[in-house]
C-alpha cells in the first residue's frame, strides 16, 4: 500500500494537514451535516474504506503516535490490508500536542474519510466529539482517557477502545485499601486527567477504609524539579504514594523520587502510564519495584498477546506498548463492526458496535463495550529487571472495571 505513506508524507510537510485536507475535501465534496447519500468519502458498500488515523507526529506525544501507528499497521498487515473484507486507505493526520492543532486537523480530515481512529489528547477529543455527531460519522478513540468523552460529553458516534482515566486509579484505590497499607499521599499534574485520577483514587481508597495523608497538584508541563513536593510527601507521614504521571514528567518524577531517597522508605504506586513504554528506559533502575495498574502488559499470559508481542517485535524491533495494543484493537473492533454492518455509514456502524459483545481475541484479554467505553480487566503490575530489560510483570488481576 503506497497510499498511506504518500499521504503521510504530504501531511508531514510544512503546509501540514490544513492544505492537504483542504485539497482532498474539495475533491470529495464533503459537506457539514451531510445527508445519507453524502456520508462517506469512499461511498458505496464495496469500494475501499477510508480511515482517518489521527496521531501526534510532533511535540511531546510523538512517541505515542509512533506506537499507535505501528499497532494499527500491524493489524492491517496481518489481514491483507483489509477491514470487513474491504481494502483500507489510511489517511494519517497529525494532531500535534493540543486542541489548537488537533481540532483543525480533524475538522479538515473528517469530510474526506468514512471513520476516524486514534487521538491521544483528551482536550482534542472533547473538542471534536460534537463534530462527529453533526457529520454522523464514527470516532474510535485509541487513547484519550477523559471520563467525559463517554460520560457527560458523550454522543452515540464517539466510541472508545482504550480506557477512561478513572479505571486504573479506581482499581489501585480499591487494591491499596484492601492491603491495609496505611495513609497514602496523592500527587498528580495539575490538569484534567490528573484531577480525574485523584477523584477516582480517593473515592475508591476512602470507600475501602483508607486515609489520604495529603494531595499535591504539580504545575503541568513546567515542573522540572519535584523536590518541594517530595519534601511535602516526606513531611506528611504517608506510608505510600500514589501518582499519575506520563511521558517526560514520569521520567523526571520517578528519578527524583529515587534520588531524594523516598523510594526506599515510601513505596510508589501509580497509574500504569507511569512506567509504560519508552519512559522505562529513561527511568532505569529507579523504576524497579514500582507497582502500577493498567489494562495491559506485554507479559500477559494469553495466546492472542503472545502472538501480538511476537509479531510486533518482529515488525518494529521493540516491545509493544498499551498505545500500540489499543490501535491494534481499534482495527479489530472496526473490522468486526464493518463485517456486521456491511456498510460504513455512521448509523450502521453505531448499531453494529453496540451489538459486538465480547472482543475475545484482544491481547489485553477479553473485554466488551459498556456505555461505549471498554469494560476490561485491570492488572496489577510491577516493574522488574529481566536480564537488563525492564518489563511490567503481572502480579495479579484486580477484576473487571467498566464505567465508574
Amino acid at each position: 500500500m503506497a497510499l498511506p505513506d504518500l499521504s503521510r508524507r504530504q501531511l508531514l510537510g510544512a503546509v501540514g494537514v490544513g492544505a492537504g485536507g483542504l485539497a482532498l475535501s474539495a475533491c470529495g465534496g464533503g459537506s457539514l451535516g451531510g445527508d445519507d447519500d453524502d456520508n462517506g468519502g469512499g461511498g458505496g458498500s464495496d469500494g475501499p474504506i477510508r480511515v482517518g488515523l489521527v496521531i501526534p507526529q510532533a511535540g511531546v506525544y510523538t512517541p505515542l503516535g509512533v506506537d499507535m501507528e505501528a499497532g494499527w499497521q500491524l493489524w492491517l498487515d496481518q489481514h491483507d490490508g483489509q477491514i470487513g473484507g474491504r481494502d483500507v486507505e489510511t489517511v494519517t493526520a497529525d494532531e500535534g500536542e493540543g486542541p489548537d492543532t488537533g481540532v483543525p486537523a480533524i475538522q479538515q480530515l473528517i469530510s474526506d474519510v468514512d471513520v476516524v481512529v486514534g487521538i491521544v489528547n483528551s482536550a482534542t477529543a472533547l473538542g471534536v466529539a460534537e463534530l462527529f455527531a453533526e457529520e454522523q460519522k464514527v470516532l474510535l478513540i485509541g487513547n484519550a482517557g477523559a471520563v467525559a468523552l463517554t460520560g457527560d460529553a458523550s454522543n452515540e458516534y464517539v466510541w472508545r477502545v482504550s480506557f477512561n482515566n478513572a479505571q486504573n486509579s479506581y482499581a489501585m484505590g480499591e487494591y491499596l485499601a484492601g492491603q491495609d497499607i496505611g495513609s497514602v499521599f496523592i500527587i498528580c499534574p495539575d490538569y484534567a486527567a490528573g484531577q480525574e485520577n485523584i477523584t477516582a483514587f480517593t473515592e475508591a481508597f476512602e470507600a475501602g477504609g483508607g486515609t489520604i495523608a495529603g494531595t499535591a497538584l504539580t504545575p503541568f508541563g513546567t515542573t522540572q524539579d519535584f523536590q518541594p513536593f517530595l519534601s511535602q510527601i516526606q513531611g506528611s507521614g504517608a506510608a505510600a504514594t500514589f501518582c499519575f504521571y506520563s511521558g517526560g514528567e514520569a521520567v523526571t518524577f520517578v528519578n527524583q523520587y529515587d534520588d531524594f531517597g523516598l523510594k526506599a522508605s515510601i513505596p510508589l504506586y501509580g497509574s500504569g502510564f507511569l512506567t509504560e513504554g519508552s519512559v522505562l528506559e529513561g527511568q532505569g533502575p529507579s523504576a524497579v519495584g514500582i507497582r502500577t495498574t493498567m489494562q495491559y502488559s506485554t507479559e500477559l499470559d494469553n495466546e492472542a498477546n503472545a502472538e501480538f508481542v511476537q509479531a510486533y517485535e518482529e515488525a518494529n524491533g521493540s516491545l509493544p506498548t498499551v498505545f500500540a495494543m489499543s490501535m491494534f484493537d481499534a482495527a479489530n473492533v472496526l473490522d468486526r463492526a464493518v463485517t456486521e454492518a456491511g456498510d460504513v455509514s455512521g448509523d450502521a456502524l453505531v448499531e453494529a458496535l453496540g451489538g459486538l459483545g465480547a472482543i475475545d481475541d484482544s491481547p489485553r484479554g477479553s473485554w466488551e463495550f459498556e456505555d461505549q467505553n471498554p469494560k476490561q480487566t485491570i492488572y496489577l503490575r510491577e516493574v522488574v529487571d529481566e536480564g537488563g530489560t525492564l518489563i511490567n510483570s503481572v502480579v495479579e488481576e484486580l477484576g473487571e472495571y467498566g464505567t465508574i
Binding site: 511531546v60 510523538t62 512517541p63 495539575d190 499535591a216 497538584l217 504539580t218 504545575p219 513546567t222 515542573t223 522540572q224 524539579d225 523536590q227 518541594p228 513536593f229 519534601s231 511535602q232 516526606q234 513531611g235 511521558g247 517526560g248 521520567v251 523526571t252 528519578n255 534520588d259 531524594f260 531517597g261 523516598l262 519508552s278 519512559v279 528506559e281 529513561g282 527511568q283 532505569g284 529507579s286
Partner: protein, 295 residues
C-alpha cells in the same frame, strides 16, 4: 524557628543548587545581552546541545572520563557556536534588537529540530559521575550529593567570571567596548573581535550548564524553551549585564522555585511569575540594573 529550619533545610539547600545551575546558564545570556546588545534566544538550544552531549558520552556508563570529555566537547562547541552566532548577527548589528532576536530564535528552532531528529523524542536520564552519584543525609532527609557539589561549582564559576570581567585586561577591553565603542576602535582594536569573544564566552557557559544540569534535569525535547524562560526571568530580575545581578537573581529564583513551592504548594503554578511581576513593578530595571550611561 529551629524546627521550621530543620523541616525546610532540604528545600533551602535545593534552592541554592538550582540557583547555581541557573546562574551558570543565565550569566552568559546576561553578559551577551547587557554588554553586546544581542538578545541570544538560541541560549536555551545551546544548553540542550550540552545536555545531549552529556547524554551521548555518559550513556555507556557514567565515568569521570566521559563527564570531563562531555565538558570539554561542550566548551569546544560553545566556542564555535558563539563565534558563528556573532558572525551571523553582525549584519544585523545596526538594525533593531528584535531582528537579532528573531534570527537567534530561528536558529534555536532549527537546532532543537535537528537534535530531535538525531536523538528522537524520548526522555533520557543522565547519571552523575562516580562518587557524586550517591546521596547524603541532611537533617534526617536524603539529598543527592551531586546537587550539593553543583552549589560549589556555581560559586566558583561566579568568582571566575567576576575576576575575568573586573580584574583582567580582557575584561577591561570588554567593559571599554561597552562604554565607548568608537574610542575602542580608535585605539586600533576591532570591536567585532570583542563581540565574537563575548558571544563565544556566553555560549560556552550555556553548553557547560547543559552538561552540568544533565544529572539534575535529564534531557528531553522542549527543555531548551523551559530553561531559556528561566534564564530570561533571572536576567530580568537580576538586571542586564550584571554578574552580581545574575548571581542574586538566580539564587532568588532558585529559592522561590524550591522553598516557595514547598511553603505554598497551592501557589506553585504562579509563584515564579509572581516574583517576576513583583520585581518588575517595584524595580523595572532589575535588582542590579545597568549602570550604563546612555552614549
Amino acid at each position: 524557628m529551629a524546627d521550621w529550619f530543620d523541616a525546610n533545610l532540604v528545600s533551602i539547600l535545593n534552592g541554592f543548587a538550582i540557583g547555581s545551575l541557573l546562574f551558570i546558564l543565565a550569566v552568559g545570556l546576561s553578559i551577551v545581552f547587557g554588554m553586546m546588545d544581542v538578545l541570544n534566544l538560541a541560549h536555551g538550544a545551546l544548553y540542550l546541545v550540552g545536555a545531549y552531549l552529556a547524554y551521548s558520552l555518559l550513556d555507556g556508563g557514567a565515568t569521570w572520563g566521559a563527564f570531563l570529555g562531555a565538558l570539554g566537547l561542550a566548551v569546544a562547541f560553545g566556542l564555535v557556536a558563539g563565534g558563528t552566532l556573532s558572525v551571523m548577527t553582525e549584519p544585523l548589528a545596526k538594525r533593531p534588537i528584535l531582528d537579532q532576536a528573531l534570527l537567534t530564535l530561528g536558529i534555536s528552532l532549527i537546532v532543537a529540530e535537528v537534535l530531535s531528529i538525531i536523538y528522537g523524542n524520548d526522555v533520557y536520564r543522565i547519571g552523575a559521575p562516580p562518587g557524586l552519584d550517591g546521596s547524603v543525609s541532611v537533617a534526617g532527609n536524603t539529598y543527592p550529593l551531586y546537587r550539593l557539589v553543583l552549589i560549589g561549582i556555581g560559586l566558583v564559576l561566579a568568582v571566575v567570571v567576576w575576576l575575568v570581567m573586573e580584574r583582567t585586561s580582557i575584561g577591561a577591553l570588554v567593559r571599554a567596548a561597552v562604554a565607548d565603542r568608537e574610542m575602542v576602535s580608535a585605539m586600533g582594536i576591532d570591536n567585532r573581535k570583542v563581540k565574537i569573544g563575548v558571544l563565544a564566552f556566553g555560549s560556552v557557559l550555556a553548553t557547560v550548564a547543559g552538561v552540568l544540569g544533565g544529572p539534575v534535569y535529564g534531557v528531553r525535547p522542549g527543555l531548551d524553551e523551559t530553561v531559556l524562560l528561566l534564564a530570561l526571568i533571572v536576567v530580568v530580575i537580576g538586571g542586564l549585564g550584571s554578574i552580581k545581578g545574575a548571581l542574586i537573581g538566580a539564587m532568588v529564583i532558585g529559592q522561590v522555585d524550591s522553598l516557595g513551592r514547598a511553603l505554598l504548594p497551592e501557589l506553585a503554578s504562579f509563584i515564579l511569575f509572581g516574583a517576576l511581576a513583583l520585581v518588575l513593578v517595584l524595580r523595572p530595571q532589575g535588582l542590579f540594573g545597568p549602570k550604563k550611561v546612555a552614549a
